[in-house]
């Protein structure tokens, strides 16, 4: 019967993702005629805003690209700037930056798992009904998120949009009491992680397989790479981060204001599942044990399991954060490394003309910033390629394989499956500001 089925799915405003995207699917007499993810957000021109600005203020601008990946953009920006001027950050700085990334990934994944994905798997339309039926669970999610925000506040001066992380290092370094506070908060977060794992492990994800090329940072270090490394793929691709364009090969499609990308195959995937597929062996013991419990042994080719991979990364990032802070408590923080606030007026960081690329793993995948800088440290050209842009093409290829496999389901079920698929990637199509917009009806 499904062979002759005609369906038309048009999700005009996909909910529980960030920004505006539409799913359009047309099947005529069992034949898939159209299948796409429309991206209807207008471009934001951040690269244009960066031109002429100092590399010492670039991270304050680029962090505004995203309210969740603000630290990731900050760090990619700083890394690109430092690479351009040939500055090598200290080990202490790199550890603190890694801690920042851990916290941001943890924060983002917790919210995605609990608030955006769980409603689908628990059979409710949104997170709102869970307030009544699973109040403790909702509060736990928000408690965990708050902890990440609070530690971020201690570490970089604000919940989002870091202040103290700059080119060269940090303008404020954590004191002993800060380390104790952060460690105490993380210990309490560890208590909430147990029930989180139990809940997430009980969720049933749709069965669907489509092997693709998985792309993430890789390196020869022991640790799970988030901040440093080369570009690697499951098809054996190895590129220096400066060669990122050979990976992304960006192209324009008519239905998306975001460019698509592809590498060796028709599309590739970035994000938690890609990282897990490439760097499973480097997971910390508790994270690896959870991956094994969830059946996440590479290669994992079900994109719905990106959410499960995010859960594994929650444990990974939490354990790594605790390890970094304990290390600082044992070996101390060198306060002499603190930099002066400003645009390098004291010339402590030597500046020269050059070109540099930042490649950082952020919650949704590998993020690239590329700056060309003049001899005064001003940005001449900038290019930013965000993870969601890299995943869009892969999502569409998933959709094209998924739809024929679920044609025997009702249109409602097909729509739900497609929405769940897109949500599994945790796409961040844009960012919006907080504002209470009320339509008031005067009586």
């Amino acid at each position: 019967m499904s062979e002759k089925k005609t369906i038309r799915v048009n999700v005009g405003y996909l909910t529980r993702v960030e920004g505006h995207g539409n799913i359009v699917v047309n099947v005529k007499r069992g034949k898939l005629e159209e299948c796409r993810l429309d991206i209807v957000e207008s471009p934001r021109f951040f690269e244009g805003m960066l031109r002429g600005r100092s590399i010492f203020e670039a991270q304050h601008i680029t962090s505004r690209i995203c309210g969740i990946c603000a630290c990731g953009h900050t760090l990619a920006s700083i890394q690109a700037a430092e690479a351009a001027i040939g500055f090598i950050p200290s080990l202490q700085t790199r550890k603190l930056r890694n801690l920042l990334l851990d916290l941001e990934i943890l924060d983002s994944h917790i919210l995605h798992i609990y608030l955006l994905v769980a409603p689908d798997l628990l059979g409710v339309k949104s997170f709102v009904p869970l307030i009544k039926t699973h109040n403790d669970v909702v509060r736990r999610a928000l408690r965990m998120k708050k902890t990440c925000n609070d530690i971020c506040d201690i570490l970089v001066g604000r919940h989002v949009h870091p202040i103290t992380a700059i080119v060269g290092g940090f303008t404020k370094l954590p004191q002993e009491k800060d380390l104790d506070t952060m460690l105490g908060q993380l210990r309490r977060l560890q208590e909430d992680m147990g029930p989180t794992i139990e809940l997430a492990a009980s969720l049933k994800f749709p069965v669907f397989e489509r092997e693709t090329e998985y792309v993430a940072l890789v390196n020869n270090e022991e640790a799970y790479p988030l901040l440093e490394g080369e570009i690697g793929s499951s098809d054996g691709l190895r590129l220096k981060k400066e060669e990122y364009r050979s990976l992304t090969n960006e192209f324009v499609v008519p239905h998306s204001s975001a460019k698509h990308t592809k590498a060796g195959r028709a599309s590739y995937m970035v994000g938690a599942l890609a990282r897990l597929n490439l760097n499973y062996a480097k997971l910390l013991p508790r994270a690896k044990a959870l991956a094994d419990r969830l059946g996440l042994r590479p290669p994992v080719t079900n994109p719905f399991l990106n959410t499960a991979a995010q859960l594994v990364e929650c444990v990974q990032c939490l354990e790594d954060s605790v390890g970094i802070i304990e290390d600082f408590k044992t070996n101390g923080v060198n306060e002499d490394e603190a930099l002066v606030v400003g645009l390098n007026e004291n010339k402590r960081i030597p500046v020269k003309a050059g070109s540099g690329v930042g490649a950082v793993e952020v919650p949704r995948g590998i993020l690239f910033h590329h700056y060309e800088v003049d001899d005064q440290g001003r940005i001449v050209n900038a290019n930013c390629i965000i993870p969601t842009g890299q995943n869009l093409n892969n999502i569409e290829h998933d959709m094209r394989k998924l739809v024929p496999e679920i044609l025997d389901k009702s249109e409602q079920d097909i729509t739900l499956h497609l929405e769940m698929l897109v949500r599994a990637y945790d796409p961040c199509i844009s960012c919006s500001a907080h504002f209470l917009n009320v339509k008031f009806i005067t009586r």
Binding site: Y13, T15, R16, V17, E18, C66, G67, I68, S108, L111, H112, L115, L116, S126, F127, V128, I131, K132, N135, V138, R139, L142, R143, K145, K146, N149, D150, H159, V160, D426, C428, C431, S432, A433, H434, F435, L436, N437, V438, K439, F440, I441
Partner: protein, 164 residues
């Protein structure tokens, strides 16, 4: 100064019980959307009741509010109800739209039920019509005047004559 406020607001804020909690929200970098934060910053030391500023992350105050267990909550935020800039109104909860939830934003009217599922407080939303929510700091004169009137009303020293 309280003459700037409508009777319904005066009646809400005047003789406010000590067990009331005032929650403010908003983004100081979006001009008048920062009115809640403006009010909170000026009330902290001199308010009849306790004030918590939720800023841009209302979800982060959930546990604190549940622990305080106030009997009454007054939420103050910028609200676009199509009025003249600086107009203050009590907003019925059903007039607050369910803004799409994302990892980037959990709206106040989603957060309040999480709290109220536990403490069952009487919640009143007070909205101030913004003139501008463009990027930038500082309030418009109209909104600042309204904010100052609210601050005046909630100040310890103020004894506003109850309107009839």
């Amino acid at each position: 100064m309280s003459n700037l406020l409508p009777v319904e607001i005066i009646n809400v804020l005047n003789f406010i019980p000590e067990s009331t909690l005032v929650i403010t929200a908003g983004n100081s970098f979006r001009r008048d959307d920062g009115v809640g934060r403006y009010i909170a910053a000026r009330l902290q030391a001199d308010c009849k009741v306790r004030v918590i500023d939720a800023g841009i992350a209302p979800e982060n105050i959930v546990e604190e509010v549940i622990a305080l267990a106030p009997r009454r909550i007054v939420v103050i935020d910028a609200a676009d109800f199509g009025g003249r800039p600086g107009t203050v109104k009590v907003i019925p909860e059903e007039h607050i739209p369910q803004i799409t939830l994302s990892t980037h934003m959990i709206p106040l009217n989603v957060v309040m039920p999480i709290i109220n599922d536990r403490i069952r407080a009487d919640v009143c939303y007070v909205g101030i019509q913004p003139k501008s929510v463009d990027f930038g700091e500082g309030l418009s004169p109209e909104v600042r005047q309204a904010a100052d009137a609210l601050i005046h009303c909630l100040s310890k020293k103020e004894k506003v004559k109850r309107e009839k």
